[in-house]
């Protein structure tokens, strides 16, 4: 095999030196699911949706560098089951009620549920007590729906250079916190024009006053599955 090639499910895939498996696969038009990954930002590797087998060992495709001769399993029933379980875990960890959520139809978590045929969350619901922060003039944060992907953290730090968000606490107590005297978004440097305002893959951060604007049937994942998208990490504008 060529020294700039590896295989995904037995078919050769070229890569440029320094590319991660996910990037190489994407260039080759092969879909590897992901939630906390967004090509604009430094990879995070926490959601584990992009878990693949590299020569039999599980790795996160968004952080693992592609190397010549690697043999990857990406689409196997086992891996799909793993991804389904991950989505189920994220669902029970928060309060995800799609019927009342304006992100429904444009939500990547939901779309991955569809992709991996999640029929129920399986695990016992945790129903955590989380708040809604509507103190900001233009943007609301509903912590019930936060999946700790840290995209807003990275966007605010690396693109907006404001570092409005951070993660505090550990284990199940891990949660998004806001850099302001009161801990409220309204008192932070956050602005609706920030990249961080448009990067949330779920319905946790959304613009005030304009829910459900996209008709059912025209929403991002209504007719086309998340895997069908060339670059599904470009988050559709909320609503």
């Amino acid at each position: 095999m060529a020294d700039n090639e590896f295989t995904i499910d037995e078919q050769p895939v070229p890569f440029k030196p320094g590319q991660t498996i996910l990037e190489a696969a994407k260039t080759a038009g092969i879909y590897i699911p992901h939630l906390c990954y967004n090509s604009e930002f430094k990879a995070h590797g926490g959601c584990k949706m992009c878990t693949v087998l590299v020569n039999g060992r599980t790795q996160t495709a968004c952080t693992h560098k592609a190397a010549a001769g690697q043999e990857l399993d990406v689409n196997t029933p086992e891996l799909d089951a793993t991804r389904r379980s991950l989505v189920q875990m994220l669902f029970i960890e928060g309060n995800h009620f799609c019927p009342g959520c304006e992100k429904s139809g444009n939500c990547q978590l939901q779309a991955l549920g569809y992709e991996y045929e999640m029929m129920s969350p399986h695990f016992v619901e945790l129903y955590p007590h989380r708040e809604v922060d509507a103190s900001h003039l233009d943007v609301v944060i509903d912590f019930n729906r936060c999946i700790l992907c840290e995209l807003c953290v990275r966007a605010s730090r690396d693109v907006d250079h404001k570092e409005v968000f951070a993660i505090a606490g550990r284990g199940l107590d891990a949660r998004l916190i806001i850099n302001s005297p009161t801990g409220k978004l309204g008192d932070s440097a956050f602005a609706i024009t920030d990249r961080a305002a448009r990067v949330c893959p779920v319905g946790a951060i959304f613009v005030k006053g304009i829910g459900f604007k996209t008709p059912i049937g025209e929403r991002t994942y209504d007719c086309e599955s998340i895997s069908a998208e060339a670059d599904s990490c470009e988050v559709p504008e909320t609503t």
């Binding site: 926490g46 199940l172 891990a174």
Partner: protein, 569 residues
């Protein structure tokens, strides 16, 4: 942070803001640190902060009853601070006093060998408000309990190892270490020589040697002993490692639970500086510069993980980094960094003195040298034992006076559970690999309790970075609770097995990968201990329905037959 708290007991929002301004960083960074570590408080705890070590071995020694006893005496609920702000009582993960438990931490200082009487004395001292400093020193006595020693747990004349190292030169020292085939004692068993060489060859002038003294694995306490009585071996070992790698700066990352060792170690380092065993031109050898700084941990098992430890060292929450790159390439402050276990570094000084070849003669072909084992649980002589690699489990049990053993948990909560038919196995990287924890369960012990305890341990210690571990450990804990309450069924047992496998395969770091081990092992080897607790039905509601009706019953004042629900017969 820790220093600030030592002064002001807790870290108030004001302090958080001051620190942030002082360092010119967002307050969120400060908060994320404060809220990550168990021993940093963003709410005021009691002036007396009492934390009960909650390892299974403490429980086996009756810690639960003692906790209840103290709570009753102080009229407190667990986790709650007394109205007058005087005292708070809570649980914490294993404090590494398993050989002399049950143990507690009082304002971060360990009090060992608890008895109801001792609890009463403490409550009295609290009542009269006696400063902890004035409490009887006997409370705080921490014994080494060295029961068996070979080459490591022996006196080493200060400077001898350093001189030997200087004698054979940087390259020579590195060769000796490689020749010794020394492997990391933290559990992973990575060849130390290779690691050092990697760091030495890594580009850049600044390099760091970090001594991992965050001995957080439940059931291990051998590093505590090394640092208490053989600090010379450890610290000189660090200097020698620095010598071989070309590093001039070392850190000891000392776990918060070992606060009592801090002053002693500081003094030792001071002494070494005076005797030019640290500092510039060590032992007069020009260019051999090395100094050591102690960094106190603040409570976080995860920080035992090399990359998490370095994050913590940099003053961040201890979340494991994404690898590659390895620490050896990009570590502390992005510079090449060696993170080695206390015991590993101690061995380096040993190798310096006697040379790699003779070191390699001990132990087995692939596991050279000796290993310290921390023995606790049901035996006559708990403590630290030094063995050559290859010793059988049964031999160890014999030596410590353990009889009619039900099982041994080797390697702590993340380790393996061995039953009598496996006691012929050997302690070695190629067989039973361990960082040294050796918890013994006697004839009348119920291994479910151990698994249950470990499940809580992991849920509490998970850093929350990755989904499988963050949510998985919580689900595992909840299921174990349900089974413990007698409301579990085959349904949950199946889920537990799947969960253990899931976490092992998909977690980000060792914590999550091993979080299901104990539960899985006990399920495989002590299934009846689970089944005894299972409900006869093949499905039991996730909740206790009677409890779920209580609030509505209370507010409506109803108690009629229809206001109750029984589990179906």
């Amino acid at each position: 942070m820790r220093e600030i708290q030592e002064e002001s007991d807790w870290i108030s929002p004001e302090i958080e803001r001051e620190v942030a301004e002082g360092l010119g960083i967002p307050v969120t960074r400060v908060q994320s640190v404060v809220q990550f570590y168990s021993f940093l408080y963003d709410k005021p705890p009691g002036r007396y902060r009492i934390l009960f070590s909650d390892n299974i071995t403490d429980r086996m020694l009756g810690s639960s009853a003692l906790l209840e006893h103290m709570l009753k005496r102080l009229k407190l609920r667990r986790g709650q601070t007394s109205p007058d702000g005087a005292v708070s009582v809570d649980l914490t993960s294993c404090t590494g006093m398993c050989d002399q438990g049950p143990a507690i931490l009082v304002n971060n200082f360990a009090v060992t060998r608890l008895t109801p009487r001792r609890i009463d004395e403490i409550c009295e001292l609290i009542r009269i408000g006696a400063p902890v400093a004035e409490w009887s020193s006997d409370f705080f006595r921490v014994d080494d309990n060295i029961r068996r020693s070979e080459t490591l747990l022996t006196h080493l004349e200060p400077g001898v190892a350093l001189d030997a190292a200087i004698a054979c030169g940087r390259q020579g020292m590195l060769d000796e270490i490689k020749r010794s085939k020394l492997r990391g004692r933290g559990g992973a068993g990575f060849p130390t020589g290779t690691k050092l060489e990697g760091a030495r060859n890594a580009p850049g002038a600044e390099k760091y040697i970090v001594c991992n003294a965050d001995e957080g694995e439940p059931g291990t306490f051998k590093d505590r002993v090394l640092l208490n009585s053989y600090a010379v071996r450890v610290l000189e070992g660090m200097a020698i490692a620095g010598f071989a790698v070309g590093s001039t700066k070392g850190f000891v990352y000392l776990r918060g639970e070992y606060r009592h060792l801090l002053d002693k170690l500081q003094a030792e380092i001071e002494l070494m500086r005076e005797e030019r065993r640290l500092g510039t031109a060590i032992r007069g050898c020009a260019g051999f510069d090395f100094d050591i700084e102690i960094h106190m941990g603040a409570g976080g098992y995860i920080c035992g993980e090399g990359t998490a430890l370095v994050e913590s060292l940099e003053g961040k929450p201890g979340r494991p980094r994404v690898r590659p790159p390895s620490m050896v390439q990009v570590g502390y402050l992005g510079k090449p960094t060696i993170v080695d276990n206390v015991e590993t570094l101690a061995h380096i000084s040993e190798i310096a003195v006697e040379g790699g070849a003779s070191f390699a003669k001990r132990g087995t072909h692939t596991s050279t040298g000796t290993k310290l084992i921390s023995i606790s649980g049901d035996c006559e002589r708990p403590g630290v034992y030094e063995y050559r690699f290859g010793v059988t489990v049964s031999r160890v049990l014999e030596d410590c006076g353990a009889r009619a053993v039900t099982a041994v948990q080797i390697g702590g909560a993340s380790g393996v559970c061995l039953t009598p038919d496996e006691f012929s196995r050997r302690i070695a990287f190629e067989d039973v690999s361990t960082a040294g924890a050796f918890m013994i369960f006697g004839p009348d012990r119920d291994l479910f309790d151990a698994a249950h305890n470990f499940a809580h341990f992991f849920a509490h210690e998970s850093c929350g970075f990755c989904t499988p571990c963050r949510v998985g450990t919580a689900i595992q804990r909840n299921i174990m609770d349900k089974i413990a309450e007698g409301r579990g069924s085959r349904y949950e047992v199946n889920d537990l097995m799947r969960l253990a496998d899931f976490m092992k395969k998909n977690s980000h770091c060792g914590l999550g990968e091993t979080a299901g081990n104990a539960v899985r092992d006990t399920l495989n080897k002590f299934r009846p201990a689970f089944e005894r607790r299972l409900h006869a039905r093949d499905f039991v509601p996730a909740i206790d329905l009677e409890t779920a009706l209580e609030p509505a019953r209370r507010i409506t004042g109803r108690d009629d037959a229809d206001a109750h629900l029984v589990t179906e017969a």
